[in-house]
Symmetry: D2
Subunit: 340 residues, 4 copies
């Protein structure tokens, strides 16, 4: 029996575990002021070709989204997101709990476009009563999206441009960023993100770390962000645990290497589904595979592996998601393919 | 030049002004503990055939919505509303500012149905990750809706039933309640509202008062609601001003009388539009008239009166709203009709 | 039996009532965009010798405090106030409900000093863990204070200077501002307030209006404050009611005239207390009189008038507050004095 | 050069590291639904002799305080705490950010008493305007306190009783609970806490874990606390990391063993300070030592070790804190003592 429910089922990449072992009995100061965190921040800046960027390490994705969005928005502002965005659906109202509305746009395979934002802004200011409404203050997109799809560099640049035009912050949720950057179709780099976004984060939890997200922010964007992190309960006391992890991930190209491995295996699995006549629900180029199962296929796949149930279609078929990770063994994919 | 932009353009009903004059130099305690407020609360209870109900007077509609919803929801809960609901669109994010998400349903002429709520709840609990989502804790509807439409008693009873089944609070925004109750098509009474809802309010601001909304709540529903009102900045120091107004409105059937007048005039206007070949956008039986104007009609109407621009349709036609009020003079309607 | 519990026991000044009567049936747009509100804002600016100031009309004091403070503070910031400040004690946690801590200083007769703020700021930044604490972002003082005492111009200038030095906003709660400005001891003017504060308000509710507070803000201080007002439920639909009131109060010196009357009567009462051997608790130069009553005095005063019980001292004596208002009749003061 | 700044300078106890190694490549479900978390919850229940208690694992202390307090309080309520309490001073306003006021009492060596709470409640309800104030809804105490001091069982029982009387929740912050329970003077057990408190937590971060706090709650106290944890950004995706840690700490008495070691070393250090004529600031029986240093002592100690500067007294002397931990080596204490 295999398990492809998600990309956070295993612990941490062995090199991170090894780094924990190596540093465990050292004494350092807390709250991310230690040497490992300092070095990790520097490594992130280098990887992003952004020597001036601010880097902050937080523990998890929902926490990071809520903290960054709260820090960037003023009271009368909300955040534009795809109706399927993580902040819109799967964070138990964390954004609203910090006082801000999520303003949703229809998505196309999990994505929203610069054109949609442009149209939204034009309609907003054309509305007689816009001063009685929530002002859009930010655009939130995920890379990859909830559906494993990717923005192109041109699309991201267009979003950045429309945000600039309307004075909206651009924030990219990179909880699975590695699996996006490592996709063959992806023409976006960390340097592009640092150049185009006000803030984005490099997801650790789902990409080989035990936990951790590295926020990269335009310098000076949020004075005293450290204190806002603390207020949100997002400041790790033993902050060096985040430094050690990101220093490891950023060394020797590890972050992209392990993501690439997951993507290769996922794409191999995807092709096998297609070859065996399964229908894809989204054609994700990353580490997630979305398949539509009829009842026979469903029964067969349930014997082979666990997965995430995405949605039951009106015709009774089931959409499921399988996710590979940095830890996926090729032989497990082989075995799963054999059972399709 | 006429003005039919809204139903809050004039001051207050003359009998309220007269009551202010009569009581002005009296000394009373503040914060709604005075004799007028006590009597007004009793009058509201009587009008609702709800001797045990709690009655609280607040100043305005957005404030009332935010205060009641905050008081009734627990932190993990949100409020279900039509996508066109006032709380969803035109309150500048007041609900989110108090920490709660507005969960929107598609509307039919401003209304949502018990079936939709039932389906939403079934899908919610059927979703594998519902514990990562915002729990629906309340259903919010408006009577009349933003589009001047009405629920039938059967529809409201069905909503109450589905709310009861799923342990959702039912809250009715009655900012224009008078104009709803006074409509010929309306088969709902104040007593029905008190029986079926956990909380609702009798709108004063738009129905003849200078300001004020009377919240009617199931007894014991919210301990210390007084303090929550205070915290929301919604407690009027000279609270008797609310008591004086609602005591007047609840006396001698004034509230419904003045609403009936507005509805009669609006319906007369509506029929005139139809007779002259204008297209209605919504067929509202209350004090609001929604008309679609082609360019010639638009030009003509702009010469005759001001109105609220609702929406520009893709074909270039303009949807406008005209509203009558307790203060509308029949001769003004005559004059407007003559100019159509 | 007299009533001197507070300064908001009567309705509104007759000239305001008259203005309501005169304008009642006029039609205007809502939300403070009407001609009366425009003129009233201009009148406030003129009275403050602040042609560029922004003026906003809100309904009540707690609401105004919460709205201004929320609008001015960033998430990691709190507001410094006297431990006896209205926001610290008597607003049911309205400031905390908007996410911000009230940082209290010991008071001297309701006042705090520039020296205290200076010391607080020095200690704050000297604390190793200040980044784990709430950053002071604003100083809040009341004029007059809760105890009817006054800042001198020199004291206010010193506060403004220390705020400037440490980049703190200075916000003056003027719920009873008239009674302060009208005191013989007061050397502060509206123009001083406009010059020294980032924001302050001219209280209407307690100074002759039916309700209403006029916020005066440094131009450009809070973009889209209108929308924040709306979000806080503090935007009056029939906004002209605020305009009509403040236009009246700002005309022909009415605001100060009626305050002066109240202060004169209160001081007369205060002197009578002293002459008859009563002990003052605070020597307020404004419209509030604070007296310490032994059991005989208490019994006697209870027969003559109602009042607010302030505090029961350990020795059993009772501190009470009596307040005069714009509506206080000299003969009532005479009668009360006769009964002391 | 030694480092005794705090008890979270090292990584994690070797047996936890070993458990991470042993389980690293296993696949489990996320969010604390895995078998390790299930077993750890059961182990906590057993250790507390509380078979029905709910146990939830969160990441850090500030986060846990904010989440529990938000979940337990209603909107009009605040939390009573010592003025020196962590939530009152060192959480960057996290409690206020969730909408609630911290109501502070004077402390005695970091502690508050049942008598103080009783007096506070009596004065609260005796105040004429208590409905305009924040209602106390909970008492928060720390065991040990910020100053390393301990409540006795009798004191805790008295607090529980007064809370019961006034319908206040009792919540114990146990961020350093192990070091309290392991103190020779402590007569409180985990079972006492489970019996007397509505909620408390067993601190992991400072007591041998890499991170993690185990909340123990009265069954049924907070419906859907899981979702509130998620909303607060406090739900760890790889939740088993918390399960693995607490299962290890709860096995074979490890939690108390490692705490006892730290306490023994701290007390040895404390006695050495006293013997050499240093003055104690607080006589903590736990793992923290508070010493007052004159300038010569300060100079000498700075050469020997780093520490936390607590407070500079008016006479120029410096209060410092030294903390031992599960990882403190006896030879390091020996060396430090030798240098005093």
């Amino acid at each position: 029996m295999q398990h492809f429910d998600s990309d956070y089922m295993e612990g941490m990449h062995p090199r991170i575990l090894e780094a924990f072992e190596r540093t465990n009995m050292q004494k350092t100061t807390g709250y991310g002021l230690d040497e490992y965190s300092v070095a990790a921040r520097e490594a992130v800046r280098r990887a992003c070709s952004a020597p001036d960027a601010e880097v902050h390490f937080l523990v998890g994705g929902t926490q990071t989204n809520a903290t960054v969005i709260k820090a960037l928005l003023r009271p009368h502002e909300g955040v534009i997101a795809a109706a399927t965005g993580h902040i819109a659906v799967h964070e138990s109202g964390a954004i609203e709990a910090s006082g801000h509305k999520v303003l949703t746009l229809d998505h196309l395979c999990g994505k929203i476009s610069a054109e949609q934002v442009e149209q939204y802004m034009q309609q907003f200011y054309a509305d007689e009563s816009f001063e009685h409404m929530v002002f859009p203050g930010m655009v939130y997109v995920s890379l990859p999206t909830e559906y494993g799809t990717l923005y192109t560099l041109a699309e991201l640049e267009a979003l950045a441009e429309v945000c600039h035009k309307w004075k909206l912050h651009l924030f990219v949720d990179g909880a699975r960023l590695g699996y996006g950057l490592a996709a063959r179709e992806c023409d976006i780099t960390l340097a592009d993100l640092a150049r185009l976004c006000d803030a984005f984060y490099i997801g650790g939890t789902k990409c080989g770390a035990m936990f951790g997200e590295a926020v990269v922010m335009r310098k000076g964007l949020v004075p005293h962000f450290f204190t806002i992190i603390k207020q949100q309960g997002a400041l790790l006391a033993k902050g060096r645990m985040l430094g050690v992890q990101f220093l490891t991930l950023m060394s020797d190209g590890l972050y992209l290497d392990i993501a690439r491995h997951a993507v290769v295996e996922a794409q191999r699995l995807k092709r096998a589904f297609v070859e065996r006549g399964y229908e894809l629900y989204f054609n994700s180029p990353t580490n997630q595979v979305f398949v539509v199962l009829d009842s026979i296929q469903e029964e067969r796949l349930r014997l082979a592996t666990s997965f995430t149930e995405w949605e039951r279609l009106d015709d009774g078929r089931l959409v499921v998601r399988l996710a590979t990770s940095w830890a996926t063994r090729p032989e497990d994919i082989d075995e799963l393919i054999a059972s399709l």
